[in-house]
């Protein structure tokens, strides 16, 4: 198990350093707290950095650098990083926590979702910068989902797709310089658009009061219900019974939205 002191904020900071490659700037809110950093004695550091049997005298009182810490993974602190990941993933609300939410939470959740989607059902845009060329680092946070410094990195709602940036593009300026924004200057109309997309697929229907609601949205790309409805989801969308594992046992998806029956293909 993870040592208790690594469950604190310090371990989150360490993890942030490790995955900054994946989400540059995502962690800007998390600042290191020197008081809570895991301590590594200089002696231990020296033992790990030299060939077996030769213990070099190390200056006392010098804090190890990040690089040194990384190199120490096989030593006394070997469990540090793996523990950090588990701690972040586990940092979710308890599955048995009693949930109180109002219809306003639901609308609020939809409004928040709409800020990252052109319409209900569109792939969300990425709210943080990404590495433009090497884009396979997404899984560091999004494979299992994580809560870091109060921000949620949602678990992917779908599996088996390898090319994340095929569908998800950043909504923050990718340029490492300040360039002209389309729509702001030049050919003024670029990026200005009157599209008004579907806000929501609405709520599921119930056969009678108390019956489980149907799934109101398509389930393609949304095979993992807990991404949005689990303990890390937005409050308005969370299920009151996250401990139940088999969602489709009670909640039926729509055959029309899931295209299990053919759409009309005749001329309107």
């Amino acid at each position: 198990m993870i040592p208790t002191e690594l469950r604190g904020r310090g371990s989150r900071v360490w993890f942030a350093v490790a995955v900054t490659v994946a989400g540059v700037g995502f962690f800007s809110a998390a600042s290191p707290d020197p008081e809570r950093l895991p301590r590594v004695t200089a002696e231990a550091a020296a033992r790990q950095m030299t060939p077996a049997g030769l213990v070099a005298a190390a200056p006392v009182g010098v804090a190890p650098s990040y690089t040194e810490l990384r190199d120490l993974r096989r030593g006394d602190n070997g469990a540090m990083y793996s523990g950090a990941t588990a701690a972040l993933v586990g940092a979710a609300a308890d599955a048995f926590t009693v949930l109180t939410k109002t219809p306003a939470d639901w609308t609020g959740a939809l409004v928040q979702r709409a800020t990252r989607r052109a319409y209900a059902g569109a792939p969300p845009t990425i709210p943080h910068p990404i590495a433009q060329l090497a884009t396979n680092a997404c899984l560091a946070c999004h494979e299992a989902g994580a809560i870091i410094g109060g921000r949620v990195a949602p678990r992917m709602a779908h599996d088996h797709y390898q090319a994340c940036t095929q569908c998800h593009v950043p909504s923050v300026d990718p340029r490492p310089w300040n360039g002209p924004t389309p729509g702001a200057s030049g050919s003024g109309a670029l990026a200005l658009n009157d599209f008004s997309g579907l806000d929501t697929f609405g709520r599921g229907t119930r056969a009678q009061p108390g019956a489980p609601p149907t799934v109101p949205h398509p389930t393609k790309m949304r095979a993992r219900c807990d991404t949005c409805h689990g303990p890390k989801g937005l409050l308005g969308l969370r299920t009151p019974h996250p401990y139940r594992q088999s969602c489709s046992q009670c909640h039926l998806p729509s055959a029309v939205l899931d295209q299990r029956i053919a759409f009309r293909t005749e001329r309107p």
Binding site: T100, A118, Q166, C167, G202, P240
Partner: protein
């Protein structure tokens, strides 16, 4: 809190929730339905199928419409191409309709300014220009023309005006693929299909970046890894891209030396005896360039072939290309393994190449020589960049030398067949091929007295003001010459409408009926779902309306042998006035044009099914042949005994359109020769141009989609950090790129989307504010006439900085 308390509290909250939910539902059912809420909640959305508007992959989307507007898009799960998946452009394709500055009225240039006019006036102006000089009129269309649109333009020109001056922007993107297919198999378009991607063991990408340009196809391969499949991906490239990250091997080569690589691999196969002797003996013949060079070349023996190739030893290839000899051997190991299934993909990298035809034939030759052909997973497949580059430009033949169905102007018999189907007098079709794209625009930009015989060009569905190479020479002069008139049909203001004399506002995508054909011979259909904005109207209607106006003026050729209008559609013996916009949708014009066009498709075994079959399907791959039970069967693997109904022999394959008419495909010897322009002392850098994931072509649609524009807001120049250090350039610094033809200024990006090698730079061409085609070279392939956008020599300096003496 003990466990019992906890359970009791949880139970209470569950009970309270259940009780309150019930009441909520009961309350909701009592509330009157507010239409605004309906719109928000998704009730009342109608879904219908359409192929995506963007690239040549041909994904089907489900378009959700509500109150006459597109409100949502979903991947079509019944579509075999994409199986429910899309890319970021496809997911946002619905937004392409709603840019704020849609063109909604016809505009005519008066005293240098475009002013609104009526449609009647616009059609009259266009037809007056054409009637005044029919032979000086040229039509410039695109691979975004729907099949009926391209067919109508084709018929107006070749059957009506008796002129072959019709060409399309596909000339700039895949004509070398066409000549490659013709030189090898005697007939155009890939033998394989996307099903190869599901079963191949090795995927070789020749100068191709499908992770960004054909993302759905790329996913179709790499997602197999998630299911435990082992696939070897090989990236043969001049720069590192997002695709490279997924690849097992990268062969980084010097621009233009891909010919040497292919030759090196073939040489090794012969030397090792690792080629497919039986396949070659039965189904192949060898060929090399003739003097003078023709597309057919001349036959050579396998010994002659072997002798010529012998020069390309791994070490020599390494010297030419910079690719380590070990990697040439690795490629030969792969091709030399008969058990592996190998699919090759390529697109612009191989086609926009002054030796594009040669390189295309080499890759086909490599697959034929090694026997990696004609089995699922074994295929050389060229991809296209536009939704109907295949369906319209190649199959309808909207090119200066082409006729529908793979027929050609040069063949007298073909002309006769076409005249018969079009029901026009013999000799109506001009025997001389028309001006290909570069020639057309060169002559438009040349005064009449100096041979500039093109006086009017009508541009539909494309943006040559941004996409033609060496714009200063091909486009700009025409704008200052008297007597040159440019008509442009488009949906948004572009670099081309900005210089047009007459602008016609067009309907876009699901604002009209349409049919297109993708890279795997799949013909697709959709119905109009929403009205175009303002006075925007279908391109096909525009062509027919102008044709009718010419007919009414008595311009010869607009009537068939019986004196009927060329585009006449009759009902109960009465002609329907489809040239009148009010009546255009009284009948399905697309269906009528398509059924007429179908007659052409039987000659080259590119058989298409009746229109109604496409209404039902998510596209069908030709040849689509009717079965005994009346059903229509598509063909996945052309020329193969097990799937293609036209295969005659008992062998594994039959190349039934062989250029040598003996069922054999041609394996070409094509020597490596240096490109027309290479970096030198004055212009020391290679410039490559291309695309990025978010933007499609000249960005006239995608730059108006906020999500896409935000993700990639402007063009940039990709520079290697070492070069940047020497130039004193950092991220965001403005850099001047200059060639012998022109210059642009744009910011540098050192660690961005792609990584160039030292001594080369890359610029995406989507940004109309940075016309990189002022810099590119207009040298073209001798057979396909396709220009090379992928390499020319440039010099760079930091904008504002003093230039070093050269």
């Amino acid at each position: 809190m003990d466990r019992r308390d906890f359970l009791r509290k949880s139970a209470m909250s569950a009970a309270v929730l259940a009780a309150s939910r019930g009441s909520e539902a009961a309350e909701a059912s009592k509330t009157a339905v507010d239409p605004a809420v309906l719109a928000r909640s998704g009730a009342g959305v109608t879904w219908n199928k359409a192929p995506c508007r963007f690239c040549g992959t041909g994904c089907h989307v489900q378009v959700g419409t509500h109150n006459g507007r597109v409100v949502a898009v979903a991947g079509d799960r019944l579509a075999p191409v994409n199986q429910g998946l899309l890319c970021v452009k496809g997911y946002h394709v619905g937004l392409a309709l709603y840019g704020k500055d849609r063109l909604t009225r016809p505009l005519l240039r008066k005293d240098g300014v475009l002013v609104p006019i009526t449609w009647e006036r616009a059609i009259a102006v266009a037809s007056e220009r054409i009637a005044a000089d029919p032979k000086g009129f040229a039509f410039y269309g695109s691979g975004q023309w729907t099949i009926p649109e391209g067919y109508a333009a084709q018929k107006l020109m070749k059957a009506g005006l008796g002129s072959n001056h019709i060409d399309a922007n596909a000339r700039l993107c895949m004509s070398s693929a066409v000549t490659g297919f013709l030189a090898t198999y005697g007939v155009d378009e890939p033998a394989g299909c996307y099903d190869d991607l599901d079963v191949c063991d090795v995927l070789i990408m020749w100068g191709n970046n499908p992770a960004e340009m054909h993302p759905v196809l790329f996913s179709r391969v790499v997602d197999r890894r998630s299911r435990g499949d082992k696939i070897t991906l090989v990236d043969i490239a001049t720069r590192t891209t997002r695709t490279t990250g997924f690849c097992d091997h990268q062969l980084l080569f010097r621009p233009h030396t891909d010919l040497a690589i292919a030759n090196g691999v073939m040489n090794l196969l012969l030397e090792r005896g690792a080629y497919d002797k039986e396949f070659v003996a039965k189904h192949c013949a060898f060929r090399a360039d003739s003097a003078p060079a023709t597309l057919q070349g001349q036959a050579i023996s396998i010994d002659e072939f072997r002798r010529q190739l012998a020069l390309y030893t791994p070490d020599h290839v390494e010297k030419l290309s910079g690719v380590p000899a070990a990697q040439i051997r690795l490629l030969a190991d792969l091709f030399g393994s008969p058990k592996l299934r190998i699919t090759s993909l390529w697109c612009m990298g191989m086609n926009q190449h002054t030796a594009g035809t040669a390189m295309n034939t080499l890759v086909h030759g490599l697959h034929l020589l090694s026997g990696h052909f004609g089995r699922p997973g074994d295929a050389p497949t060229s991809l296209t960049g536009q939704p109907s580059a295949c369906g319209t430009v190649r199959e309808v033949g909207t090119l200066a030398h082409g006729l529908p169905g793979g027929l050609v102007i040069a063949n007298e018999k073909h002309r006769k067949e076409a005249e018969e189907i079009w029901h026009v007098p013999a000799g109506r079709i001009a025997a001389q091929a028309g001006h290909h794209t570069i020639e057309m625009w060169k002559r438009f930009s040349t005064p009449k007295e100096r041979g500039g015989d093109i006086s009017t060009i009508w541009v539909q569905v494309t943006n040559p003001g941004q996409s033609l190479p060496n714009r200063h020479a091909l486009v700009d002069p025409s704008r200052k010459l008297p007597g040159k008139f440019l008509i442009v049909s488009d949906v948004y203001p572009t670099a081309t409408t900005a210089i047009a004399d007459l602008v016609l506002p067009s309907a876009l995508w699901v604002e009209k009926n349409g049919m297109v054909g993708n890279s795997e011979r799949r013909t697709q259909q959709w119905f109009k779902m929403v009205q175009p904005p303002g006075e925007a109207r279908d391109d096909c209607w525009q062509t027919i309306a102008v044709a009718r106006s010419l007919h009414d003026k008595g311009v010869p050729g607009l009537k068939d042998k019986d004196g009927k209008f060329l585009f006449a559609i009759e009902r109960d013996g009465k002609e329907l006035p489809i040239w009148d916009w009010k009546h255009y949708y009284d009948v399905n014009v697309d269906e009528h044009l398509f059924e007429e066009y179908r007659a052409f498709t039987r000659f080259k075994h590119k058989d298409l099914a009746p229109y109604r079959e496409y209404v039902r399907a998510r596209g069908l791959r030709w040849p689509v042949v009717q079965q005994k039970d009346g059903s229509w069967r598509e063909t996945r693997f052309r020329f193969t005994k097990f799937d293609d109904p036209y295969v005659r022999s008992d062998g594994r394959v039959d190349f039934y359109h062989s250029p040598t008419e003996d069922g054999r495909a041609q394996i070409w010897f094509r020597p490596y020769a240096p490109p027309p322009e290479v970096p030198d002392k004055d212009f020391p850098f290679w410039l490559c141009t291309g695309r990025v994931l978010e933007h499609w072509h000249t960005g006239s649609l995608t730059m108006r989609i906020p999500q896409l524009a935000a993700a990639m807001p402007q063009a940039y120049v990709e520079v290697h950090p070492n070069d940047a250090r020497v130039l004193g350039v950092n991220n965001g610094d403005m850099v001047v790129i200059e060639s012998r033809r022109g210059r642009v200024t744009l910011p540098a990006w050192l660690d961005g989307r792609g990584a160039p090698v030292v001594g080369s730079v890359f610029v995406p061409f989507f940004d109309e504010r940075v016309l990189i085609n002022n810099v590119t070279l207009d040298a073209y392939d001798p057979f396909s006439k396709q220009p090379d956008y992928k390499k020319c020599a440039v010099r760079l300096h930091k904008a504002g900085a003093n230039r070093l003496p050269t």
